[in-house]
Amino acid sequence: MSSHAEEPTRRDFLTIAGTAFAAVGGAMALWPFIAQMNPDASTQALASVEIDLTPVKAGQAITVMWRGKPVFIRNRTPEEIEKAAATPVGELPDPESDLQRVKKGRENWLVLVGICTHLGCIPKGQSLADMKGDYGGWFCPCHGSHYDLSGRIRKGPAPRNLEVPAYEFVEDTKIRIG
């Protein structure tokens, strides 16, 4: 190499182009090794379940499995719905009205992914004897998050409300989640 600046040569071009192709090729060869860790076809195939709600009376709650996660289904009493709907939305850490979290005309059914949005524990509050937290909904024992009767975060480290999964009523008393 001479000491003064030179115009790029054909060799410079070939070196840069060759290195760039090797880098792209290397990255593409790496991709299958990374992508194999993503959820596989059999896991994705379990993506929807149908649930019969007939046995769940007002005030009761059931837990079902969907995609390996627990889903809380709660048949809320009229007083519980009223209390959830009366909460001023502006004061919530993750503002959502109760109506945004249920299906219109079926406000008694609250369907939630039962996983704390903090670090993934299962909140307590499904069975009658459980601690339900300061707002009567759910309480996560791991790091102390309190959820209300609409599954909204009210107090504690969790950043978001309990997730409402995509679901629809296929019959009056049957839902399909996913």
Partner: protein
């Protein structure tokens, strides 16, 4: 020190033949037999050797446990009991491995605080220190992955909580977590990949330890005075002096290790982990293994998900910057009258955070966790830079030999005659 010549003399014909082709014996002799070690090393300097020993124990016991362990959601929990009850000496191997993890962290914490007290991170040992921090991180990853394998309740929920740290990453967090899990929750798929990685990482550790020792043998060891060896009389050959001291300390350490293995193998574990993993029930009180408790306390002290995770990661990452945060001209805390007290306040802080990490995240525990989290970071970001500038070190000896022979403390004048006499005594 890297230029220190090996005094190796091949004795037999075979040794001479080998020495001309692959001089491994010459390298070993130069680095581990007549390698010059400071003559004043105390017992805190024996933990490097102890850690190498424990890494060997974990590798050996881990490889044989893998011959009996079943890495599947259906079989993992039962296979651990099978190892404990049916496999020949399985109880011993499993206890050695489980207790070994705790012993590994106990030894590494002594080793890290030793480095912090005597300023072993200061120039020219920054790279040595940073490799050490990386080793500590890989150890933590390995221990976490390994704790998942018995597939008990704490395994499952510990894995859930810790993998969920990544969900705090803005935008891509959720995808990253599903990629780690291989599904929409921790499952048998997750267990299989954790097993694979748990087998891989110890070998990465072996490579990192080799680099750590290489870097150590380039700069030479620090010592309790923090003064570099200046003359031949400041050092002794590694063998037999340092080696025999290491062996004695190792024997004492093995007694402690054996005490736990034989008399209280489950003391450092958690009873909930003898319940099989159940994705529908979270234990009422999730705690990590004892060696993660201070970081767990920091995580919970911050009332925001992303903030908590950032603080926890930062608490480890900040160690990388210690060589530049400490502005003191003097390495050893022995000669730093002001920093001395801050150092012990920091040790107390870490112990207090460990205690608070084991308590429920409520009431006064959270308040104290916040106080100590503040001091944890303040120690690095405020105390280290400021105290190094304002403090006047006292009592520095002139050399390692002066310190050992009790002469010249306070930096008083040392006549050439006494220096010569000190050298002669060797």
């Amino acid at each position: 020190m890297s230029t220190h010549p090996s005094s190796y003399e091949p004795r037999s014909g075979v040794a001479k033949w080998m020495d001309e082709r692959l001089p491994v014996a010459r390298l070993m002799h130069g680095q581990f037999v007549d390698f010059p070690t400071p003559r004043n090393l105390n017992y805190l300097w024996t933990f490097g050797g102890i850690l190498t020993f424990v890494l060997g124990v974990q590798l050996l016991t881990g490889i044989v446990l893998a011959m009996h362990y079943v890495p599947s959601a259906g079989g993992a929990f039962d296979s651990i009991e099978h190892i404990r009850r049916d496999v020949n000496y399985g109880w011993l191997l499993r206890n050695l491995h489980a207790v070994g993890a705790s012993m590994f962290f106990f030894a590494v914490y002594v080793h890290i605080f030793r480095g912090l007290y005597y300023g072993s991170y200061k120039a020219p040992r920054e790279v040595l220190w940073i490799i050490g921090v990386i080793i500590y991180l890989v150890m933590m990853a390995t221990a976490f992955l390994g704790y998942t394998l018995p597939w008990g309740q704490m395994s499952f929920w510990g894995a859930t909580v810790i993998t969920n740290f990544f969900s705090a990453i803005p935008l891509v967090g959720e995808s990253v977590v599903q990629w780690l899990w291989g599904g929409y929750a921790v499952s048998g798929v997750t267990l299989n990949r954790f097993y694979s990685l748990h087998y891989l990482l110890p070998f990465v550790l072996v490579g990192l330890v080799a680099l750590h020792i290489w870097a150590l043998h380039v700069t030479g060891q620090n010592n309790p005075t923090g003064i570099e060896p200046q003359t031949r009389s400041d050092t002794v050959p590694m063998s037999p002096y340092a080696i025999s001291k290491d062996m004695f300390a190792l024997a004492v350490f093995i007694i402690l290790f054996a005490w736990f293995v034989f008399f209280m193998p489950d003391y450092l574990g958690h009873a909930d982990n003898y319940n099989q993993a159940n994705p529908l029930v979270t234990p009422s009180h999730i705690v990590p293994e004892w060696y993660f408790l201070p970081f767990y306390a920091i995580l919970r002290a911050v009332p925001s998900k992303l903030g908590g995770v950032v603080a926890m990661v930062g608490a480890i990452a900040i160690l990388v910057f210690v060589p530049w945060l400490d502005t003191s001209r003097v390495r050893s805390t022995k000669y730093r009258p002001l920093y001395f007290w801050f150092f012990w306040a920091f040790v107390f802080t870490c112990l207090a955070l460990g205690y608070l990490g084991a308590k429920p995240a409520e009431g006064v525990y959270v308040t104290w966790a916040r106080v100590f989290t503040f001091y944890y970071f303040a120690h690095f970001l405020i105390v280290m830079p400021i105290v190094g500038v304002i403090e006047t070190p006292t009592g520095m000896p002139r050399s390692i030999s002066d310190d050992v022979l009790g002469k010249g403390n306070g930096g008083s004048a040392l006549s050439p005659a006494t220096a010569a006499a000190a050298a002669e005594k060797r």
